[in-house]
């Protein structure tokens, strides 16, 4: 227990503000519950992230990712824990990358977290942290959670979530199921829409995907995309209707093959789409409840 208190105090007195992720090397534990740091710590940036993440780099590059600090810990039977601390540039981005892959139970670490066998994910300030093990998850569970608790206080103060979240209607919103992202890779991995980028998503677009509905029934999904300008929002709406909902070109709404309703509209510099609402009325109600951010006009 004293060592845990020491780590907390040490980190609390030395939050990483204004430094780089390299500074974590001094702050983080070299050993935890019998697992020892091995190899040299590594740092990857936007140019070198491909060397570290096989196939996953684009997911991070679609956000404002800056650098990742990596430390590996070796434990029993050659099992290895990988600690990754991603500097996402801002707390909104850290929340975003965390939110896109969320499905396990809250672990009470950092601002928000989740733990499922072999994988701890949390965010704190501008940092997103992943701690994972490739082998026996049961054997590594206590060390993974202890490491997470040791890392979180070293990440500095909490940050704020994306302001766009305020546009979501609260009624019926399923907790912990809202994702914030920018690109179509993130959208399609969470909720496949189309094989092409029909909404014109890129690093300049801010997107929310939220789930609505009660109980065990399949949820309705609300997608809100904020574009740099009103013209882009309108163009995206037209593109979506042409490719996805051609029978709704005039009205913006149609009943799809699963007997549920899809409805889309553009307002201000945003496009909003409800997928799979149980009725047209419910789709309309949800869509009309979106609090679209006002565009500042001269």
């Amino acid at each position: 227990m004293p060592s845990r208190v020491f780590i907390f105090l040490f980190c609390a007195l030395m939050p990483l503000s204004g430094g780089t992720v390299t500074d974590f090397a001094k702050l983080l534990p070299k050993a935890i519950l019998g697992w020892d740091a091995v190899q040299k710590d590594a740092v990857y940036d936007r140019q070198t992230l491909y060397d570290y993440l096989d196939g996953g780099a684009e997911v991070y590059l679609a956000f404002d990712f800056k650098q990742v600090f990596v430390r590996k810990y070796s434990g029993p039977a050659q099992n290895e824990i990988a600690l990754d601390i991603y500097d996402m540039g801002s707390s909104a981005e850290a929340f975003g990358i965390f939110s896109c892959d969320r499905q396990d139970e809250e672990a009470g670490i950092g601002q928000e977290s989740e733990y499922g066998p072999g994988l701890l994910r949390f965010w704190q300030g501008p940092y997103f942290v992943s701690i994972t093990v490739g082998g026996d998850e049961k054997e590594a569970e206590k060390a993974i959670l202890a490491l997470g608790r040791a890392v979180a206080p070293c990440l500095g103060p909490p940050g704020i979530k994306p302001g766009l979240l305020l546009c979501l209607p609260p009624a019926g919103l399923r907790p912990n199921r809202t994702s914030f992202f920018h690109g179509d890779i993130s959208l399609n991995n969470r909720f496949f829409i189309a094989s092409e980028n029909i909404l014109g998503l890129n690093r300049d677009t801010n997107c929310l995907l939220a789930e609505y509905g009660q109980g065990q029934a399949d949820p309705a999904h609300l997608l809100v995309v904020q574009y740099p300008g009103e013209g882009q929002a309108l163009a995206a709406l037209r593109s979506f209707l042409r490719s996805y909902l051609p029978e709704g070109l005039e009205t913006g709404a149609a009943q799809t093959e699963n007997k549920k309703w899809t409805m889309a509209k553009a307002q201000e510099n945003c496009a909003a789409i409800v997928f799979d609402a149980p009725s047209r009325e419910q789709a309309e109600k949800l869509l009309s409840s979106v609090q679209f951010p006002k565009v500042n006009r001269p």
Partner: protein, 293 residues
């Protein structure tokens, strides 16, 4: 040129059509074979309860599958149709730390290459450094072997994606869901050299999470190997298996990992092989429980 496939196709239950319709290139442009043979072999004893690989069983599976694939009655005869004595052969493996090609499979292939007259010192085994590996630079034949898993961008990582290390720049192949992976098979170091594709479905991964796209919750002990000479057909069968597992675990709306268009592009644009399941002769051998496809 390309048809946009939307979520609604899956809702309609028309996702199988995805395999044939995702990319519309004129089929008449195909000049290669009009059918492909793929062998799916499974053995319950291929893995023990801790997923430890049984090397003897793996060798038997490889032998039986390649014999059946090539219509021969012994492994020696079958492998002698793939390589000639005195050749330099590269085994393009996969070292991804979370789910690498099992060494037992690599050794099984190497054993048979040696028996077919290839000198041990003329067999290269590599992944990340194939471009600079002298054996791969001299290789006249390649064997393509890797595990089956999902991939954030490409939908699945199979035999087509396994050759990405032959590219000068891997990120250049990533846009548009890695659609152009088929082009790798026309690089000078590769073109016309692939003799066998082995897609290891011993513990396939049907879903990925976290930065490394891996969590053991999403692999299962399928205990199979998917083997063929056509990498497109092998991957098309692998995709079917992943889709079947995802359908079972997540339901029809999540059955396709987004978005495996590279398999169809390899067929329709590059004429590299066949992605249309109706033209693939799938021979199933061995353990049938939980076959899924």
């Amino acid at each position: 040129m390309s048809k946009i496939i939307t979520r609604r196709e899956f809702v309609k239950g028309a996702s199988m059509a995805f395999l044939g319709a995702a990319v519309r290139f004129p089929q008449e442009s195909r000049v290669g074979p009009q059918t492909a043979r793929v062998v799916l072999i499974r053995q319950e004893r291929a893995l023990d309860a801790t997923s430890k690989v049984n090397e003897d069983v793996i060798q038997q599976m490889l032998d039986e599958a390649v014999m059946r694939l090539l219509g021969q009655d012994s492994p020696a005869k079958a492998f002698s149709l793939l390589v000639r004595p005195g050749e330099v052969v590269g085994i393009k493996s996969n070292v991804w730390s979370y789910l690498p090609t099992p060494p037992e499979v690599e050794r099984g292939l190497k054993r048979r290459l040696i028996e077919a007259g290839v000198k041990e010192e003329d067999i290269g085994l590599d992944d990340h450094t194939v471009r600079s590996n002298p054996l791969f630079q001299k290789a006249t034949s390649l064997l393509n072997v890797r595990p089956l898993r999902t991939h954030y961008l490409a939908g699945i990582s199979g035999c087509l994606k396994n050759y990405i290390m032959f590219a000068e720049s891997q990120p250049d192949l990533h846009p548009d869901s890695c659609a152009e992976l088929g082009s790798l098979f026309f690089l000078p170091q590769v073109k016309g050299k692939t003799r066998l594709n082995v897609l290891c479905a011993l513990t396939p991964q049907y879903y990925g999470r976290g930065p490394h796209h891996f969590n053991r919750r999403y692999v299962w002990a399928y205990k199979g190997l998917i083997i063929g000479q056509d990498p497109v057909a092998v991957d098309a069968v692998g995709l079917q298996l992943i889709m079947a597992k995802r359908r079972q675990e997540f339901g029809p709306a999540q059955e396709i990992p987004p978005v495996p268009k590279h398999i169809q592009v390899a067929d329709r644009k590059y004429g590299l092989g066949l992605s249309d399941l109706s033209r693939i002769e799938l021979i199933k051998l061995g353990w049938t429980e939980g076959m899924m496809i």
